[in-house]
């Protein structure tokens, strides 16, 4: 049963990844990449890595893809964005294939001995939240402060300069 799901999600991940890199339209590519991330998240979930699975969806499929799409749209005319198929492509693909071959060789040759076993609760929601809200609660709060400063800074830098003092411009 587990093997079935593994091949299902694994196969889908590979297929969607292939579709992603063969699309000519950047926005379509981005959506296929989201599908790919969702399948990878399912693989993580099958490995009982709940936290990584959730983060995969929240951060990669969520935040980072939204960011990609924003950038693509800000650049304007997303339909006309042709992905670069320059002369470097053969070189890049050769290097990639070689790297992949090397990795596969190493993985198949590795003797599986002495991997430290990790407890079942490792990476679970309970364990992550204990780290985050008990052990590192102070730094959790500092992160909040850091984000506040980043927002103040970003708003200040991104907003149009206020012109005169007397011109009654609104406050942010």
């Amino acid at each position: 049963m587990e093997a079935l799901f593994f091949y299902l999600f694994g196969g889908l991940a590979v297929i969607t990844a292939l579709v992603t890199i063969t699309r000519r339209d950047a926005v379509t590519s981005a959506f296929w990449l989201i599908a790919c991330f969702l399948n990878v998240a399912a693989l993580f979930a099958m490995l009982s890595a709940q936290f990584i699975a959730v983060m995969q969806i929240l951060i990669y499929a969520g935040a980072i893809m939204v960011f990609f799409l924003f950038v693509t749209m800000f650049l304007g005319e997303p339909r006309r964005v042709r992905l670069n198929r320059g002369r470097a492509i053969p070189l890049i693909s050769t290097v990639t294939v070689l790297l992949l071959a090397y990795l596969l060789m190493r993985i198949t040759n590795t003797q599986h001995r002495g991997f430290p076993s990790i407890s079942d609760s490792y990476g679970s929601v309970a364990m992550v939240s204990r780290k985050l809200l008990v052990d590192y609660v102070f730094l959790f709060e500092v992160t909040g402060l850091l984000l506040l400063v980043a927002v103040i800074g970003a708003v200040y830098v991104a907003r149009k300069p206020r012109t005169g003092v007397g011109e009654g411009e609104g406050h942010v």
């Binding site: 590192y136 609660v137 400063v149 800074g153 206020r162």
Partner: protein, 488 residues
Amino acid sequence: MSWTELSYIAPILWLVAGGVVVLLLEAFVPRRDSDHLSIVSAVFLVLAGLSANTGLVRTSQSLFHGVLRADAFGSFFALIFVIIGLLTVSLGAVYLRRQSTPMPEFYVLVLFATAGMMLLASSTDLVSVFLSLELMSIGVYVLAAIERNSSRSQEAGFKYLILGAFASAFLLYGIALIYGTTGTTQFEVLGARMGGNAALAGNLVFWAGWGLIIVGVGFKVAMVPFHQWTPDVYAGAPAPVAGYMAAGVKAAAFAVLVRLIWTGMPLLMDKAAPLLMGFAIVTMTFGNIVALAQSNLKRMLAYSAIAHAGYLLVGVLAISGHADDAATRGILFYLAAYALMNIGAFGAVTFVSRRRGERSELAGFAGLARRHPWVSFFLAVCMFSLAGVPPTAGFWGKFYVFGAVIQQGMVGLAVIALLNSAVAAYYYLRVVVYLYMREPGEDAYIGDDVQASAAIGVAAILLLWIGLFPSSVLELARLGAAALARTF
């Protein structure tokens, strides 16, 4: 998080509260000028300074599961940062008054960034180091770019942001490698594991981690070859911000560097000493030689900031790890003096600047003593102190640091540092020559602001006072150094 634990970080909490109050005041009670916000900020800084005293009692308390440590070392820096913050707020108020657009964010960012500096100086966990370094840096990135209609200020902020983000990435990668090889990010556990682990000493990945951390911190202190941003950013950022960066960011980054070196004693020092020595020599020599050729006071101070990073690195090399470590004491003293003289020197630029554009050409300072005898005197004191001439605080800073270096038997290094100081004296004293012995040209600078001259005056008088009576500051520095010795 108990109340007792929170009471130990009261200075940081006051600053954060101050930042939020100023932010809300600006949003809900908007006014045309922002002078009242400078007073509110100053009040919170004073409260932070008053509460920082508690840590100077001989306590050393680990807080929040080993993330921070409340000790005399952190409190020493907290006091430095409060003084830096007060002088910056006061010079910033002068600067903001001249701007046609209100920018009350200045105070908010100074308060938050100062809180970040205090956190950095008390951090005893690499995660906390990273977060507080970012808290400080993000505030300073925006401060450097605070002048929206000046392209130079925008460029300074942008340059600092991009390069700073690179440096942070290096730092973070280094932290990851150290965590990967030791399984901990806490200084004290890390120190213990480094002490009793022979395998670690030969682990290349582990040392790569340390190397990347030194790159990240080296960027913040403007160590050659990670200094390229310094001249442009110092010259482009408004003078009060440049002074704040030179004084505060450098002190905070050196605080964490010293704590890290103590953590990794003696293994880290054995391995890193040749490398750090190379960095130290190149940094001070490069900074001094290029500073000789500068005709702009702010650029000159930027290269001088690089040179001073070199002197401080020389001091770091002399850290012995003994209970009464002279080098650590010297570094703390030096940083206190260095903060005052830089804020004073950049304050002089604020003093002569105008509504349109900043004025920092050395030629414009010619004959300033005739029009503004007091400000010229204060600026001269700062220059003498930067050059290390007695009886100023700068002299004692160099005396204690180089003395510790000689004590450690590194006479050659001390000689190189002294030769460098002699070269540096030329360009610092040239400013004094301009002030007193040159005829003012047609475009000689005039200043009119009482508040700016008062701020420079406070810095200069403190420099003289510490120079004449160094024992009180030295005692505080001794307590700070002793706190590290007790921990590690």
